[in-house]
């Protein structure tokens, strides 16, 4: 492992042992349904309230990743996990039932790649044998905390994103497997100057661009070397803005660019406005769709830039702006 350029890391031996993606009802009706490991037909996930439902998704993701990796919780040396709830409650409470050493991380909706980068650094530095990374989000917990509870019935503009209900987990190892985590770029906080919590895609686009630019410069990489470049949850509004901003720097995002928030739902036929968002958005697309496409040999090299809007409703009420952050990882198929 070594630092490359200004803000990137190249890993020597980090592989993905197993991964899991668990989703709610609407995601299961979306175009990526066949790539998910488990799902619930009801937002309550057989629980009493929304937090418990999200915890159920989170623990399901852990359990499925463990089973697929043929591991027990005792064999996991460390877990990096986080979610969107205040005090990353869902990760904290879910991990009561597991005796795995735990580091909580918060990167808003970029938590999936943030936890992967942390885990990969520690593992490549020689710590332990298996490190787990997990994250979750739930439509109802997020809408209530960051916007309005559904019962309030507020009108939503077209620019609003729809929080993905789901959870994803991955287990990293130094043993050679079919999917390798080769590179990463840690993002900087980029403030776009926007204040609209109902248009987070556009507030995160400059952060995504900064990380993309840094990644390409640090590694002297070309956009065409990737089979797929994914941003986390920019949605239709943010993805369009990113393309426009990138063009100013002579970066032409073409057909190999997509956004997880636009992939996870059928935007024309599902009531999701500008597309999906939330920690689970990038997580279920990466751990479900991307990993399975790699295992099937249909994708070889994928750049995933999970984007996070560092939104705090109190700061927005005090007329502060919404800063953004984006962390990138490169997953490659081992041939």
């Amino acid at each position: 492992m070594r630092k490359v350029g200004k803000q990137s890391i190249v890993f020597d031996n980090v592989y993905l042992k197993s991964s899991s993606a668990v989703v709610g009802p609407l995601e299961m009706q979306g175009p990526l349904a066949k790539y998910f490991d488990a799902h619930y037909d009801n937002l309550y996930c057989e629980k009493q309230n929304w937090e418990q439902a999200e915890m159920q998704l989170f623990t399901d993701a852990l359990d499925i990743a463990l089973v697929k990796g043929n591991l027990t919780p005792d064999e996991i040396d460390l877990i990096f996990a986080g979610d969107l709830n205040n005090q990353i409650t869902v990760a904290n409470y879910s991990l009561r039932d597991y005796s795995i050493p735990y580091v909580g991380v918060y990167g808003a909706c970029s938590t999936s790649t943030l936890s992967l980068i942390n885990g990969a650094c520690l593992l490549d530095g020689g710590f332990g044998r298996y490190i787990m990374c997990a994250t979750s989000s739930h439509n109802a917990t997020s809408e209530r905390q960051f916007r309005y509870p559904t019962e309030y019935g507020g009108q939503k503009p077209d620019s609003i994103t729809f929080t993905v209900t789901g959870a994803g987990a991955g287990i990293l190892t130094r043993q050679i497997t079919d999917v390798r985590l080769t590179k990463a770029t840690v993002g900087t906080v980029v403030d776009s100057g926007t204040t609209d919590s109902l248009d987070m895609g556009r507030s995160m686009a400059p952060a995504a661009l900064q990380t993309l630019k840094a990644h390409l410069e640090d590694f002297q990489e070309d956009l065409n070397s990737f089979d797929l470049i994914l941003t986390g949850d920019l949605s239709t509004y943010g993805a369009k803005t990113l393309k426009e901003l990138a063009r100013e720097f002579k970066i032409e995002l073409g057909n190999n660019y997509h956004d997880c928030g636009m992939l996870v739902y059928d935007l024309d036929n599902q009531p999701v406005f500008a597309g999906g968002s939330g920690c689970a958005c990038a997580a279920v697309v990466m751990y479900g769709y991307v990993v399975k496409q790699m295992l099937a040999g249909r994708l070889n090299k994928v750049l995933i830039i999970a984007t996070g809007a560092l939104l705090n409703p109190i700061m927005v009420a005090q007329k502060e702006t919404i800063p953004g952050i984006a962390h990138a990882v490169v997953l490659e198929r081992v041939k």
Partner: protein, 119 residues
């Protein structure tokens, strides 16, 4: 009761909602901004007695939107202050809206007991 009442209720109520929708779409306000704005505007229009006139011609069309809440606050405060002096502005302000507030709490309680939120 005649059909003109229905037409006027539709037009007045529709006009208030149309203004709100235009503001919501053009100025990217949050729903809560709009609620506060319309309560304040309703309250000011009452000082100028415009809202009383709107209710007279528009009936339910003017009473149902949130702007009538602002109207009721000012209307009650002014009414009470005429009776007992300046202190009435404070003691009378919730006279007309008390029923609305109390029933909102009561119905919210009953609905919370019976139904479970879907999202």
């Amino acid at each position: 009761m005649n059909w003109v009442d229905y037409l006027m209720a539709f037009l007045v109520g529709g006009l208030i909602c149309l203004i709100a929708q235009i503001l919501l779409d053009c100025f990217r306000l949050l729903p809560v901004h709009l609620v506060v704005l319309f309560v304040i505007v309703g309250s000011f229009l009452e000082i100028l007695k415009i809202y009383d006139w709107l209710i007279k011609i528009g009936r339910a069309g003017a009473l149902v939107p949130i702007s009538s809440f602002g109207h009721s606050l000012t209307h009650a405060a002014l009414l009470e202050s005429e009776k007992i002096g300046y202190l009435g502005i404070l003691t009378g302000v919730f006279d007309l809206t008390a029923g609305g507030i109390a029933s909102a709490i009561l119905f919210a309680f009953i609905i919370a007991l019976v139904f479970k939120p879907k999202g």
